[in-house]
């Protein structure tokens, strides 16, 4: 039993923490809102240069790490500063799928991801799919040697900045079948694909994507026809680990802000942290954050386990994270009072980002039901 980070991961954590503290200046968030991509290209280059993106891929794919604890170290640090950089989308989802399914030509894009020159997005969810991974209504029908795609993709995070979008579409089977889902690597400028971009509550950007007779060469197909589900499940599990670790980092920073506030804000002639009503609630928040940390460790340790064991841990962790995230965000706002409601104060962005974690990769209720099916029933 050893819960210490390896020397390499400790160095990664220290370096990344320093870099992000320096990069995420107090004025940065307002500046980012004005930029087209919703994140900073120079911070992105810095992350690539430090090897942070490479740390998310294993050596076979051109990276140098890629294990569960590498993901959790990186994303906890990103969470601490409320970073909006689309590492989940470009690296874990997009890059991860190309690395898993791509041919040699397609895999050249992974190099571009690791060196920071390429942005990706995964267009899998649809207006009616909610969190069901196998629910794909969009279709890809054979057309000579290629395919024609039709359908709509919902809340595709990082699509406005992406060079290529990985689009899932059904080449066979019924709407909810796991078999018959294919993936395509589509340049964002492809005719017939229309993006409606918008900002997100948590920062960053997304788009609704309309597929209207999008004609693609056979070379755009990523992996075998109709067999993308398993790979999508695997990258989604890794992305769930990432967002859970990010949530943990957000919680740690929120905890710091809130304890500072309880120590310094005075009402009725004393720091409000002297009131036992608040002391006990803060203690409950601390207990739950430690639960969250252990849940992230559990998932990181099982991310490469066989799918049934892995997914049991995915659902256990994401369910717990969803519940704790709500508690931590709501309690921290309440204990701050009015100031916690303002956009200007740092807590606002962190709390919103934490609340939004429950709306990606399945919410607490979705994962409760999935956990029952996988582990209890």
């Amino acid at each position: 039993m050893n819960f210490e980070l390896t020397e390499e991961r400790q160095m990664l954590q220290d370096g990344l923490r320093r870099f992000l503290r320096e990069s995420y200046t107090p004025t940065l968030r307002a500046e980012l809102a004005q930029q087209d991509a919703g994140f900073s290209r120079s911070i992105w280059s810095g992350l690539a240069e430090m090897g942070v993106i490479g740390a998310l891929f294993d050596e076979d794919d051109g990276g140098f790490a890629g294990a569960g604890f590498d993901i959790s170290v990186v994303f906890e640090e990103l969470g601490r500063v409320g970073a909006v950089d689309p590492l989940i989308d470009t690296a874990l989802l997009g890059g991860g799928l190309i690395a898993a399914l791509g041919n040699d030509t397609q895999k050249q894009n992974v190099e571009g991801v690791i060196d920071g020159s390429i942005q990706l997005a995964l267009a899998h969810g649809e207006p009616a799919s909610r969190f069901d991974l196998s629910h794909v209504e969009s279709t890809a029908t054979g057309d000579g040697d290629g395919f024609v795609l039709n359908g709509r993709k919902a809340v595709v995070i990082n699509a406005p900045a992406a060079d290529h979008i990985l689009v899932s579409a059904r080449t066979s089977g019924d709407v909810a079948d796991q078999d018959g889902i294919s993936l395509f690597l589509v340049p964002t400028s492809t005719p017939g694909m229309t993006l409606r971009g918008y900002a997100l509550v948590s920062g960053g950007e997304a788009a609704e994507i309309l597929l209207d007779d999008v004609r693609l060469d056979r070379a755009a197909l990523l992996g075998g026809e109709g067999s993308a589900f398993e790979a999508i499940s695997r990258v989604q599990a890794r992305a769930t680990l990432a967002i859970s670790a990010e949530a943990l980092g957000l919680m740690e920073s929120i905890r710091e802000l809130t304890t500072d506030y309880l120590r310094t804000r005075k009402q009725f002639g004393k720091p409000i942290g002297k009131f036992q009503a608040l002391q006990h609630r803060m203690a409950d928040v601390l207990i739950e954050i430690e639960q969250a940390r252990s849940a992230v460790i559990n998932l990181a340790g099982h991310i490469d386990a066989p799918a049934d064991i892995r997914d049991k841990h995915v659902s256990a962790t994401k369910n717990l994270i969803g519940n704790v995230a709500k508690l931590v965000a709501e309690e921290s706002i309440q204990m701050h009072g009015g100031i916690g409601m303002t956009e200007e104060y740092e807590l606002g962005h962190l709390a919103k980002r934490l609340i939004m974690v429950d709306h990606r990769f399945g919410d607490a209720i979705y994962h409760l039901e999935r956990f029952i099916a996988l582990a209890v029933a």
């Binding site: 809340v155 609704e208 409601m341 303002t342």
Partner: protein, 398 residues
């Protein structure tokens, strides 16, 4: 014990309902239903319609131009207003200042200000909280120093809701530093157009500038704008807060929110069936509905006592805590119900006249903004911590 309204009360309910059906502009009801931000003009339009009917000030005695309703009638009116999705009556002049002027104001103040509140000539805002005086309201530090027949006001107020629309502000100011903090406070009426006043909007986490900071720099206020006696303002402030706490349970808002939540949960599909059939989600809805059913009756018990002339005390605190917990849970479930479509930030969705359709389903558009905005419910008007302290003080007598 009889859970039914009397025939007379039922007739009053029918009268209110048909009035609203005929006179509430559907444009305004739609904005309320979809959680859009109402403009100043929207509020003024609706106030004018109610004033025309004589129903704008349900809580005011008829002698002052109010409807003179008792607590049960007011409850029925508020209940019907929320089910019809009518804009809420802006409380600052009507629910807060009006009763204070009626009880403590001079004849001249009553004659001047009360008709102007009814007619919409003045839009009032509340100058209570300060950066250092939140839950501990008696520690206000904004000063008013006497200079001939004026006070000179210096300091800062904050969390001033809709202050951007206001031309008048009622303020708690410090006129004496002697004795207990409560003993040196006066209640002043200040023209927002006076030289030396600056208003700065505060954007909240939902992206809306709903509240403001108000700065006072040597603002001269005529002495006749003081309500009641000098240094007795705390008494008037507390009286005002008891009126702020009418309809504090927000039963109508909760009922409307619950209906909306169920509508969304029926429309959303999860795993191939309506979300409302998911047993875990349905259980969460059921729990809050069960709580709401009981709380509605607690509310009616308090309302009935009030109608019989017993002023609610600690019960107000009870209703505030339970009422806000219920409303915030409904907001959280609504956010959860819309799934991934809770993520888009739809600032334009809150405003009027947006040309773009919603990114996802129309019902999803403001779910997150409303959830975030209503975190304020347990903070403002005496935070839930303050309410719990009032309750425990009342019962423990320590």
């Amino acid at each position: 014990m009889d859970l039914n309204y009397t025939e007379e009360q039922q007739a009053f309910r029918d009268e209110v309902r048909s009035f609203l059906a005929e006179n509430l502009p559907s444009r305004l009801a739609d904005k309320v239903k979809f959680g859009k931000t109402l403009t100043k003009q929207d509020h003024e339009e609706w106030h004018a319609i109610l004033n025309e009917k004589g129903w704008l000030a349900g809580n005011w005695p008829t002698a002052f131009g109010g409807a003179g309703w008792n607590a049960v009638q007011r409850h029925i009116f508020e209940d019907e207003m929320t089910s019809a999705a009518a804009p809420r009556i802006v409380p600052f002049g009507l629910a807060m200042l009006g009763p204070v002027l009626q009880k403590f104001g001079s004849k001249a103040q009553q004659d001047h200000y009360l008709p102007r509140i009814l007619n919409g000539d003045d839009w009032w805002c509340q100058g209570y909280s300060e950066p250092g005086a939140g839950s501990d309201l008696a520690s206000v530090r904004t000063t008013a120093e006497r200079d001939g027949d004026h006070y000179v006001v210096n300091g800062q107020k904050t969390w001033t809701t809709l202050g951007q629309h206001a031309n008048m502000i009622f303020c708690l100011v410090r006129t004496s530093k002697e004795g207990k903090p409560q003993e040196g406070i006066s209640f002043l009426l200040v023209d927002m157009n006076s030289p030396g006043i600056k208003v700065r909007p505060i954007v909240l986490i939902d992206g809306e500038p709903e509240v403001n900071e108000v700065f006072f720099d040597d603002v001269r206020v005529p002495v006749e704008n003081r309500v009641g006696e000098e240094n007795k303002g705390w008494t008037y402030a507390k009286y005002l807060l008891t009126h702020e706490r009418t309809n504090i349970a927000g039963v109508g808002f909760a009922n409307a929110g619950l209906e909306n939540l169920k509508r969304i949960a029926r429309a959303e599909r999860a795993n191939g069936r309506p979300l409302i059939e998911n047993p875990h989600f349905a259980a969460r809805i059921a729990r809050v509905e069960i709580d709401l059913m009981a709380m509605s009756t607690t509310n009616l018990r308090v309302v009935s006592k009030a109608a019989a002339g017993q002023a609610p005390g600690a019960e107000s605190s009870m209703l505030k805590v339970k009422g806000t917990i219920i409303r915030q849970e409904i907001n959280a479930l609504t956010r959860t119900a819309v799934g991934p479509y809770a993520m888009p930030f739809a600032s334009e969705a809150l405003e009027d006249g947006s040309n773009l359709g919603p990114v996802g389903p129309a019902y999803a558009e403001t779910a997150t903004a409303q959830y975030l905005n209503n975190r304020k419910l347990s903070i403002y008007g005496g935070s839930n911590e303050v309410q719990r302290s009032i309750l425990s003080k009342a019962i423990l007598e320590l």
